[in-house]
Amino acid sequence: MTNAPWLELKGIQRHFGSIKALRGVDIKINRGEVLGLVGENGAGKSTLMKIMSGFDNGFTGDVFVDGSLVELGSPNKAQALGIAIAQQELSLIPTLSVAENIFLGGNHGPTIASLSTLSNLARPFLDEVGLNDIDPKMRVHRLSVGESHLVEVARLVAHKPQLLILDEPTAALSETDSERILNMVNRLKENGKSVIYVSHRLDEIFKIADRVTVLRDGASQATKLASELDVPNLVTLMLGRELSDMFPPKNLDRQGTSAFKISDLWPDGLLSPISFSVNKGEILGLAGQLGSGAGEILAAIAGSHPVRGGLITDMSSGQSFLPKSSKIAISHGIAYCSPDRKHDGLFLGRPISENLTSPNLKRISLKGILNTSKSDSLSADIAESFTIDPSRLPHEASVLSGGNQQKVALGKWLSINPGLILVDEPTRGVDVGARAEIYQKLVELAESGVSIIVASTDLLEISELPSRVLTFYKGALTSELEGSKVNTDNILKEITKPESFLQLAGDAS
């Protein structure tokens, strides 16, 4: 067994136009080792992984596999070299069986075989990931989320890779399923494979990683043995104090009158109904990992997520309503920005000006006829307040960078003069410069009296922006932090190993 690393990346740089996604990353991994890869949003993790798995060729720097310099030209090439990646989004075919999915794509399976034959061939791979009790003939759409993730990994393992890259493998998984994933990682390690484990769940990192590499702002900040680190050190390495300059100073007192009251809202995914209120000019944060309930609550208030019940009350008008659709939410001045702007936050093929006026056509028209001057002035106003270059307004939204696209996705809601802005992951895929501008704007809006509720998995963001934070863990409300108690340590603790479950504690049943 040589001591040289199996995969080594040196001096990796990746620019997108003027945006430096990666400024110089060095990373290496040995055989039979688990390397944890951590970093906040925008640190460059996804860019790095795309490069490592052959999906991105536009980088400079050297890649060595087993000591020799290689060209990771394409995903197929990377796979041939022995690198496999399990993305966050599953790529299983729901209408096919487990066995068929495992042998899909690639030449590792037989050309002619019955379902039974495939099942038998698939068995060892399923066992390797810990799915001993699954019938390989079962259709994938019948599996649970956790089992699907394991099948996805089994599919990669069938290609007999040396290195497995797992991107947030336990996001939205139950406790038991997460345990299975961790056991699988250990099993792979024992078999001499290498695993790069990317995750926000720092507690898991410590459970299985041998070494940890921290990415910050596009560069590898540090690589240490897991035994030399603990959670607070890790968080410090990830965040860095100078990044706090991005945030405007916070108003620590909770002033103002109640603006919106949420009563007994029970979105799918939350363990029990939740009630809270938000004041005028307050920035309230909902902290929690994917699937914890934070994002679900926001979508539910906006009418975009199924609920078992709940009432929203507009305190200024006294009106109460059921959050049944986005139209209803909009009519009450509630704006919702989903975490996936490409999917439903932007009209990429339409001009930016049309995007900015899309939620409120009534405002730019008279009796159904569009008024050009009203439309122009509205979109120019919004563009100016969000620092979007007004000369770009006639261009398609697709030409913008991630940061500017997010500004458009968020800014368009100003057209309805919202009383409440709900935003989930306000700076996902956004560069540092645009991040600061977005934070500045959000604080300005709050100061003018708009209520804002932010959900985010970015620790820095969720501790620096809001003045009050509700924390969630696995579908339950775990704490309410205010004032000076709102800091990364407390939040991280409450979203991973909470001291209490606020909602459930007082339950009779």
Binding site: P75, N76, Q79, Q87, L90, S91, L92, I93, P94, T95, L96, E100, N101, F103, L104, G105, G106, G109, P110, T111, I112, A113, S114, L115, R139, S144, R155, S174, D268, G269, L270, L271, S272, P306, R308, K474, G475, A476, F501, L504, A505, D507, S509
Partner: protein, 342 residues
Amino acid sequence: MTFFNFKKITSNDPDLTFAILLSALVFAFFSLYEPLFFNINTGFAIMERFAVLGLVGLALTLCIIAGEIDLSIGSNAALSAVIVVRLTDSIGAPNAILIALALATTIGLIQGFFIAYLKVRAIVLTVGTLMLLRGITLFAADEKTVMLTDFDIPDFIQEKIFYIFSPASFLVLGLFVLVALFMRYTKYGREVYAIGGARKEAVASGVSLKRPMMIVFAISGLCAGIGGAIIGLRSGTAQPLGLQYLLLAATVAAFIGGVSVLGGKGGVVGAFVGTLTVNFLNTGLVFNVTPAYIAQMYLGGLLLVVILFQNMSKVYEDKQQRQLKLADTDSFRQRLLKSLKA
């Protein structure tokens, strides 16, 4: 053989069960309503119809499973019919058939190529090729209906074999079996299901779009070719603008058989059952001396009914999924409460 494991089919495949029931219902209805329906000659007529409609239904089923559709299939079949009829006099039926089939399959391959390589939606491309092929057919037929000079030549394809079959329907049934085996037992067949049911995921898994797409459209072309050849030889004539009714009938057959607009669902068995059902309906209506346009009306209505049923069963399935998820959440909550109390 797993093909005939009824219990498994019913539980795994509610759509196929529905199709079989519907088929039996239509058959029973006409058997009771029209005394002449339930006899061997009718059975022969049904199987003869099946020979052509089954081919087109099979082709469309495969296309829809792959997430696409071939609107040009009628035109392709008409071209094939014209070629066979025109060339039989000079070079004999078998050679004419071979040429027609080769041409039809090549046309299919080319379409599949463009769809896969240029990522054009099939529905868009086949609108154009439908017209293009029709123009070629008009050209090949000199704008008129072409006829054989010797009407006895093609009688062999209509000989009765084993009560209700003929060489034509046997050939088609054989093709059904071949394609079924292909779809179920080979990697390439599964790729077709993959690119239909979840195309993004399939491509992300490394499935190339090109191979399954070209295979599906080549089969579609071949089926159109055989179908056209059979019709041409059977009647001894070919109209350049004919065979357009095939599209609606075959689409209804495919949907009765269980395909979904979303792709990835359905199979050859379903295509068989669906085609039979449409044939029962058509033949039964002929007995009733129903004009063709009324038959079209029934088919159109049947299609809408099947779509409605599919939609309702999807809504039901979504509801079940949600209930399962909610039950999961609730049981987790119970476990959490128990551990807190402890």
